[in-house]
Each structure stands twice: as C-alpha cells, then as structure tokens.
Subunit: 443 residues, 2 copies
C-alpha cells in the first residue's frame, strides 16, 4: 500500500480528552476516531490491528474445539424477561422499540439467546458437550465511557458458551477455555494472569478474570510473583486430556483484584518479597453458572438413564476491541506504539527519504514491488514529507520493520533496517531484502 | 470437523413461514434461525458461507483500490439532521435514546458519517481520489420483513464511499466500482445485470442496480438478451485505465426494473425475440450523488488553483447477507442447495455409510486425516444415521464434494465420489483421494 493512496489521518497534538497512553496514541496514529461518547470508527490502520487480534482469538477458539456462529446485535426483550435479567440489568442495557413498539435491546451479552438456540437444536445427550462462540459487536451504555476503546459503549467481543451434561463435564469445558485464553493472550505478547473474580450480573459460582499488568489499569491487583514470572504454556496442548494440572498451576497462588482482595490472606499466603501489587487491565472473563439459564429457558435433555436434566453452562468473554488498547498500554515508548510483531498493522514500512531523487525512488519502488510479490504486507511511505516527520510518524504508528531508503545507503548498495523495538539500525545488501524479511517476520 | 462434534440443527419439515426456496433451505439445512421478525442468527454452517461471500467482496474491493475500515452500528442523530435525512428517513430508521436521552439510531447506511470522517482527515486535493468501505451490520426496520435473510431487518452490507475533486474524476471512481461489482458477482457464479435505477432516499443523478435473474425475485426486470448471454469480463483488469469501454458495453443495451421500465422504449430498442422479461433480485446498488452530502457537511478542499470546492461523492452497496440467499435462489434443485464450489461451506464431506463396521470407520478416519493434513476443509459424517438420511441431509446442505465410504467400495480399494451438481458418481483409488481433491477443488 502506498501511503500517498492510503488514509492515516494522524494528529500532531495530543488530544486533550485522552487520559491514557493507548487512547492518546490511537487517536494520534489515526487508528480510531470518536463518533459519539464511547463509540468509535476504526480507521484503516486501527481496523487492521483489530482484525489481527480477532484472527488470533478465532484460531485459538477453533483449536480448542469451539464452533463459530454469529448471533444478531438486536435482541428481543422476551428472552431476557424469561431469565429475569431484563429488569435487573439496569441502565447499561440499551433498550429500544421497533416500529411496531416491540421491546428490543442491543445485546450486551448472549446467555439467553444461545441457550434458546441450543435448546432447539439439541437432540440427545450424545450431542454434548458443545462450545459455541461468536465475535460480534455489543453495546453497554456506560454512565461515563472513557479511555477510548478501553471502556467504550459499542465494543467488539468474543463470547462463547459451553453446554455439558454434568458439573464435572462442565469443569473440563471451563478448563479448556481457561488454558486456551492463556494461549490466546500469550500469542499477542501479553502476560495475562487469571484471578478469582466476582460473577456480577452474569451469575454463577466460579469465575476468573484474565488481567494484564499495566500502570494505567483500571483495577488494583494483588498476586504472587510466581504468576508474573512463571513459564509459558507447553506448545502443543491436547485439549482432550485432563487440564487440571495446568489450571491448578495457575490458580494455586494468590491472585485477586481489589474487589476480591483479602489482605490478611495475602499476607499469610505470600511472603512480602513475593507480593506483587500493581495496576491491571481485564482482557477476559470466564464464568461457570451451572443451570441458571438452562433452567430458566427450559434447556433440558434426557441422560443415558432417561432422566431429564438441565444442562450445565458457562460463558467466556474476550474483549477484542479493548485488547487493541491493552496491547498498547503494555508495549509503547515515548515516541509511540511498539506492536508485538504479530500485530503490526503492516509487516514492513519502506521509508523513502528522498522522493524527489529519481534514483532513490526507483530503488524504493523496486523494493516495494519485491516485498509485495513475496506476500509481505508492506506500506510504502512515498510522500514528500521531511525525514523528521516521516520518522516521527512511523515511530508513532509502530510498524515492526522500517526499511529506510536514502541516497546515502544506496551509494553502498545497502538498505538501512530498523526494528521498532530496538534502537540500533542495521544495513543489509539491497538484493537480500526479501530473504531478510522472510527470515525475520513473525506471523 | 466431525459432524458428531458439530452443530447443524437440520429440520425435517418445511417451515411454513418460508415462502421462497432459499428461506426454506436455509432453515432446513440449519444455516440460520430466526430470533425476531427479520433478525437471524447465523448458525455455524450459514456463518461459513456468509464469511466466504464477505471474503470475495473484500478481495475485489481491495483489488480495485478501496480501503477497508469500520464504522460503528450506532450513530448520533446530529449528523443526519445536518443532511436533512433524519426527518425524511421515516420509520425504516431504527431510532433510539441512550441513557442520557441523546437521540441515536442504528445506521441504515453511512453517507453522513463517512463524509464527516473524511472531511476531518483530508489535508489536500492531492489526497484525492479515495474510496473507503466497510462491511458492517445495518438495520432497516422494514414494515413486513420476509423471505428470510433476503429482506431482513438486521443485515450485513458492504458499503463504500468515493471522494473526488471533480465530476469527471468521480465518474472514473464510479466506473471502477461498476466493473469490480461485475467481477465480484461473477466469482460467486452469479450473472448480475446492471440496470439504470432510481436513487431513492440516497439521492443523486446516476445510479445502477445489479440484479440477478431468479424466478422468486422481488421485481420484474426487462432487458436485452445480450446482457444475459454476454461474455465474462477480461481476467486482469487494470483499474487505472479508462473503463468507459467496459461500462458502456454493459449500459448500451436496454435494462430496467419495473420502477424505471418504459415499454415503448423497450419495444423500440429491443426486437421482440431479444426481449427478456423475468424476475430479478437486487444484490448491489451504486449511486453517484455529486456534492449532496459534502456540501451539507462542509467537506471542501482547495484545488490546485486555490479555489474551495466541495468533493464529488458516490456510495456503493453490496448486500452480503442477502447474497447467501440470492445464490441459493439461483442454484438449487428439488433436493437442496447446490453451492458454487467456491462458496461451499465445507469443501468435502466424507459420508461413512457403516460407522459400526470398524474397517470402514478406520478407513474413513484415515481419509479424514489425510484431507485435513492437506489443508482441505472437510466435514466427516461419523454419525450413526441411515444411508438414506445421510444422503438426504448432504444433498440438502449442498457441500460440493461428497466422498462416500462403504464396505462395498472399500472391497475394491476405492472411494465413491460425487459432485453435488452432477448426477454420476465416480470411483477413485483410495490412495489418490488427496491428489484428486487438490486437482478438483476450486478456491
């Protein structure tokens, strides 16, 4: 993509409404634009990152055996009256009436709807377990939306729902999600710590939040150092095996957000040099709520003995749009965003420092074509801005690999290359650029 | 994917609310489920097809040079008051109030919003032309939603918007879209005919609908036989070249829906044996409306001479969710759906006719693993249904390639293979199945 043909409306000034760094950088880098309080347009650059996060979430859901589908954004109030949540949900629910004055709402979550769908599609206990998910826009009418897409009103969420015949089987479904979430966040370069959590309006008796550490986090978190420094997950997890050993490794140490924090327990379980007290951002939340919704909506099945039983369910959310901001909070410097390689909106940017010099531009075009032909996603800065402006913009935007082309490096038949996360620049012979990128780009 | 682990809630009976074949088959094949009037869940099988259509639309938009982004579903009423459409739009617009009693709406289209965004991002006339698009859920509160996703209320649309400095330049942008739409529909196996159209609530002075022929179509169409039988587009179109020759080939013959039909002109321009009078389904609609929205929203730029000019715009829609139904209307038989190969929800289904026979199941598992390892998207019917039920279901669902495994064919070390669109079955040696599929699957 040529920058001269693209649309990245960067801002020179820090927008004063932006209180946290991700919001500031997303606005300044031309990734998002606010349309109404808590409602954003994803400009081309931001949209590319959103899609990359969505793709990782989807891949890990599918790997774990969940099945993708898509429920609508607008729901009938009827289902919510059956579960009793229509009145309880309060003003965060965006309620509306259609032209026939039917009560509708913009879905903040989908427990009722999926239970209704699954009940009608289920034939036998042999169809269990199932885990169904969708990645869809949700709306929660926050009183004071703020921090950009971190706490927006219209937001993009992966929400999944499991159905099992027994509590024990449901526990395995919960564990599968638990482990797949650790993998999902790890792939994005995030260290997410599972913490025992309150269940809030979803309900149920077991719940974990997945929280990443960030100074600007919304909540205080307290945990054992081991969880922050512990090793990564094994590469190839067999989700059909018993996952309790992995889950218990992550749950046996103290970890709590301020809602659930118990200072006395913290002190008794964790010696002071291992106590981590930090700010954190919630990026996922999982719930086991047993038969709460299946009983309310009549989602039963006959088991092998012929007894009618209500299914055991859980729900599992990842904030896909919020993750874009969370990644920035955890990876940036004073010049701008430092994308984990896998999330970089383009894999490479070619910075032509002397567009008006025909030899330089000819070479830049050639490198651009070569990289494109090698299926590398490349942005070519062919604008006539000054070198200073170009470097500042590209450091702000944070594309992983910068290829800098100037008459000076061309004189020695070389290209200057910089990885956004590193200070030093290296030089490679022009005709090896495709090989270099193929070797170094992480996908 | 093993069918025993998947979720395809097929229906045995014809749902009585379904008046047209696509609606009937989509419900029966477990592709969609109605949640409220005109609001559907896309069950796993339907969702896969929806995504395939979305992918083709996206690829052709990108190929033509359009830039993807994403605008939110909920819009502020303010923008619509500026354009004057808030009052004019009528009851089809789903209006709502947020918790602070601000007037909002669920976007039925995005001319105002994109003009607002582009105005703020535009720096110079050198930034023109631009074509920005998104693929997002829309809501139109139809008085009587019907025909399933063909005329739903919540629907998935690609809408794109072009910005140019002059009417002449805008004409080229219009032509690019025109040609890219022909390509888009052709890739889905559809013959779409562009027809001069009314501009309705969008406004403007040039517009074409893209209509496919189908007996169940919503509108009567009248056109010259040449348009129905004319050749395909050239393979590699250079969108920067003059496209008038291609566009005029498609617009020089008479073609109109009943709204615009003029019988006297039809008779004088088309001799009777070349008159086609049929039913049609609109799958795309494009508009050039000049400065209508840019003037209302102050989207100006200084041209090379320093004069302030309002930009020339057009908008361009493809009904992505509607296309799923339109494809079925144009490709089915009395047993079910016949997907164009490229849209088949799975590329191959393995039908195991004797699950309880361990030799047969062992071979079926082996073929399943081989095809999966070759990156072929395969469904394995490992259920214990009868052969008759399995064949009926798979013909209904319409997966392109059926691989039938039974003790009988295994005895001769062969697999029975059927293409959904053809009656005859062929036999291939078991160990050549991967090669056969690699050679025959169209992507």
């Amino acid at each position: 993509m040529r920058l001269s043909h693209y649309f990245i409306p960067t801002l020179k000034e820090n927008p004063k409404e932006a209180e946290i760094v991700s919001h500031r950088y997303m606005l300044r880098a031309g990734m998002i634009r606010q349309m109404s309080a808590g409602i954003y347009t994803w400009l081309p650059l931001g949209y590319k990152v959103l899609r990359k996060i969505e793709k990782i979430v989807r891949e890990e859901q599918n790997r774990m055996g969940a099945i993708e589908m898509l429920m609508p954004t607008i729901q009938s109030a009827d289902l919510w009256k059956k579960s009793g949540r229509y009145d309880n949900y309060g003003k965060e629910m965006l309620r509306l009436h259609d032209r026939h004055e039917r009560e509708m709402l913009y879905g903040p979550t989908n427990e009722e709807m999926i239970t209704d769908i699954f009940r009608d599609g289920l034939i036998s206990y042999r169809d269990l377990p199932r885990n169904l998910y969708h990645i869809q826009w949700k709306f929660r009418d926050e009183l004071r939306p703020r921090f950009g897409v971190m706490r927006g009103r219209e937001f993009f969420m992966k929400d999944g729902y499991s159905f099992d015949l027994s509590k024990q089987a449901a526990r395995h479904s919960y564990n599968k999600i638990f482990v797949s979430y650790l993998r999902t966040f790890e792939r994005m370069g995030l260290k997410a710590i599972p913490m025992a959590a309150d269940t809030g309006p979803i309900g149920g008796d077991m719940s974990h939040e997945f929280v990443i550490l960030a100074k600007t986090g919304e909540s205080q978190i307290y945990c054992h150092r081991h969880l922050v420094e512990s090793a990564c997950l094994p590469e190839n997890i067999d989700y059909e095996e018993d996952l309790e050993p992995i889950v218990s490794q992550w749950t046996k140490h103290y970890a709590a957000t301020d809602e659930k924090h118990d200072q006395a327990r913290f002190n008794s379980e964790v010696d002071s040099e291992n106590q981590i007290i930090e700010r954190g951002i919630e990026v996922g939340h999982i719930f086991y709520f047993g038969t709460k919704y299946t009983e309310a909506l009549g989602c039963h099945v006959r088991d092998a003995q012929g007894s009618k039983v209500a299914l055991h369910s859980g729900s599992y959310g990842i904030g896909v749009s919020r993750l874009v901001a969370a990644v920035i909070e955890s990876s940036h410097d004073e010049r701008g965003i430092i994308w984990p390689d896998i999330l970089s909106p383009f894999e490479v940017v070619i910075i032509n420092l002397k567009v008006k010099d025909s030899a330089t531009s000819q070479k830049a075009e050639q490198v651009y074509e070569q990289l494109k032909n090698a299926d590398i996603d490349v942005l070519y800065d062919d604008t006539s801005e000054s070198a200073g402006v170009k470097f500042a913009n590209m450091d702000l935007i944070g594309i992983t690999w910068q290829v800098i082309i100037s008459p000076k490096s061309l004189a020695s038949n070389q290209l200057e290359i910089k990885h956004r996360a590193q200070e030093e620049r290296i030089f490679v012979p022009i005709d090896t650029i495709v090989d270099f990128m193929k070797k170094n780009i992480k996908r």
